[in-house]
Amino acid sequence: MNLNNLKGLNKELHLEFSDKRIPTRKGYGDMLVELGKTNKDIMVLCADLTESTQVHMFRDAYPKQFVEMGVAEQNLITIAGGLAHVGKIPFISSYAMFCPGRCWEQVRTIAGYNESNIKVIGAHSGISVGPDGATHQALEDIATMRVIPGMVVIVPVDYEQTRQATKAIAAHKGPCYMRFAREKTPVITTPKTPFEIGKAQLIKDGDDIALIGAGPFFYECLQAAMKLQEEGINALVLNLHTIKPIDKDAIVSAAKKCGCVVTVEEHQVMGGLGSAVAEVLGEHYPTPMRFIGIQDRYGESGPPDDLIKHFKCSTDDIIKAAEELMKRK
């Protein structure tokens, strides 16, 4: 499937479709090393998952700015609270299931309510974590983070966007949450692709059906758009990399153009990206919707590709939802 043949691609985004696949988390690790060169306030904390969260490169480059916390997620966020209070910019890295999963109250009070300049990084989110199974597959973190007032929530689409998002949250003063998946993800953005917190990216224009997604699953949206195009259906595809603050204008505009919306996320459909979109549309432009994601159940062990099909989040599932939804217009 050659995504370069998609019609209505946004040239201003300088996208490139190739076979290149890199885990998003590596973009985080690489950008931290770049930032550490000049920004000595950045401190990276990790709870015994240094290599998995890709902060080992930062640890090796700037050992004095790295703090190993051991297996103690509540301490991870509370120590970061102290560091942030005296001017440091702590990036705290763990699996999303454990931070912010285990230490939600501390994230809410110390990062959120306290308006601390803490960057919470949740790796290995979603079912694509694969064989480790449901205990390690965070499917609730977008919901639990976006309900915290003042918390920025970002789900970058690929390696390059993660690099840029890491730079952006370092510059943003205030609490931020950024989530990654584990697997290698197709790279579609380039260093020339602009990134701004809170500004969704219209990847492909269209007027039949709007596909809105974020993170590694977003590639399924593009593949679905390509197949729909072959059926003569012109899909709009919106990369909602920032779940909060949400880009209302981009969402309402997409709904107005297309009249129906499918959301796609590697997360519970309750409270996640789809819910955030529905909140916007319910208030500003009620539109028929379908929600692709995890339907109120836990994940399980298996190869990532099989799990995506098993949980009905594949390209074909998106197409089916889009076709059904278009009949309701």
Binding site: A72, Q74, G81, L83, Y113, N114
Partner: protein
């Protein structure tokens, strides 16, 4: 408030930061006791006015707060962001009536404002919120999180080779939180001897005696096993408090845990040690009697040489 020029700190290009106007330290034990009495009276008035709040811990820790704010710490209440200050974290935020009373008497904000405690629009939230009241170093209330935040600050000061001390007051009930022990391991690993914690060891928590609810003793030995220095003191004896903080500022090699044996509700004879007063305010009638008792204590104290 008497202010004095008494310390030169870290010259910088800005002339105004060459000399700090610090809070005058009270060194006389009798004067400190009188200040603790003032703070206790303020606490009673605040709680009665608010019709809610936490009496036991606030009264029990009045002597420790007095010793810390008026004798031990280097503070500039008129310039709360002064980089050379000692930092104070209250971990058990629910006893904040005593913190607010100490801060008001130290000149952070007008004493009249104490009567807004827990009311709509007040900067004096039911549990302290850093973003609302300048001078607070953190937000607290959910238990067990202060020690690690204080340790984070102490770590940053060591990292940056800065001389600041970080003080943290804890309740004993909250020592049952896992986050506390995680923080203790961290502080010991990094030999944070600039971190001085003090636990309000009054043996009461909401559901009863700490040793019945979830035993903590031998708490000093547990701290020592976690590689902390410990000192056990009478947390209602002003002379001992002042001497302990003086020693604490010279603490070396390990973080320090001061185990302050206090009496809940200290200063009000009828209710001293009663865990029923953890989260209860005095009624207006009770407050009148309590204030009478505290005023009598003050007279006796003033009459002493």
């Amino acid at each position: 408030m008497i202010l004095t020029l008494h310390k030169i700190y870290k010259p910088s290009l800005n002339l105004s930061s060459w000399v700090r106007i610090l809070l005058k330290k009270i060194t006389d034990i009798k004067e400190l006791k009188l200040m603790a009495n003032t703070i206790r009276q303020d606490i009673i008035k605040m709680l009665a006015e608010a019709k809610s709040g936490h009496t036991a811990g606030a009264l029990g820790m009045a002597d420790m707060f007095t010793g810390l704010f008026f004798n031990a710490m280097d503070l500039d209440p008129k310039n709360v962001d002064w980089e050379g200050r000692d930092y104070f974290v209250l971990s058990n935020g629910h006893i904040c009536a005593v913190l607010y009373a100490a801060m008001a008497n130290a000149g952070y904000f007008p004493r009249e404002e104490l009567m807004t405690f827990r009311k709509l629009g007040s900067r004096l939230q039911g549990h302290p919120h850093r973003k609302m009241l300048p001078g607070l170093e953190t937000t607290s209330g959910p238990l067990g999180c202060g020690l690690s935040q204080a340790a984070g600050m102490a770590y940053a000061f060591k990292h940056d080779k800065k001389p600041n001390k970080v003080f943290c007051f804890l309740g004993d009930g909250e020592l049952q939180e896992g986050n506390i022990w995680e923080g203790m391991m961290f502080a010991a690993k990094h030999k944070l001897d600039n971190l001085i914690c003090a636990v309000d060891r009054n043996y009461i928590q909401i559901d009863g005696n700490t040793e019945d609810v979830m035993p903590l003793d031998p708490y000093d030995k547990k701290c020592q096993a976690f590689n902390w220095n410990t000192i056990t003191i009478d947390g209602n004896d002003m002379k001992e408090i002042v001497e302990t903080f003086k020693k604490a500022k010279e603490n070396k090699g390990k973080p320090l845990m001061i185990i302050a044996r206090t009496v809940a509700c200290k200063g009000i004879c009828d209710i001293e040690g009663d865990c029923g007063w953890h989260g209860k305010p005095p009624t207006p009638e009770e407050a009148v009697d309590m204030l009478k008792e505290l005023q009598q204590t003050r007279k006796t104290l003033e009459a002493k040489k």
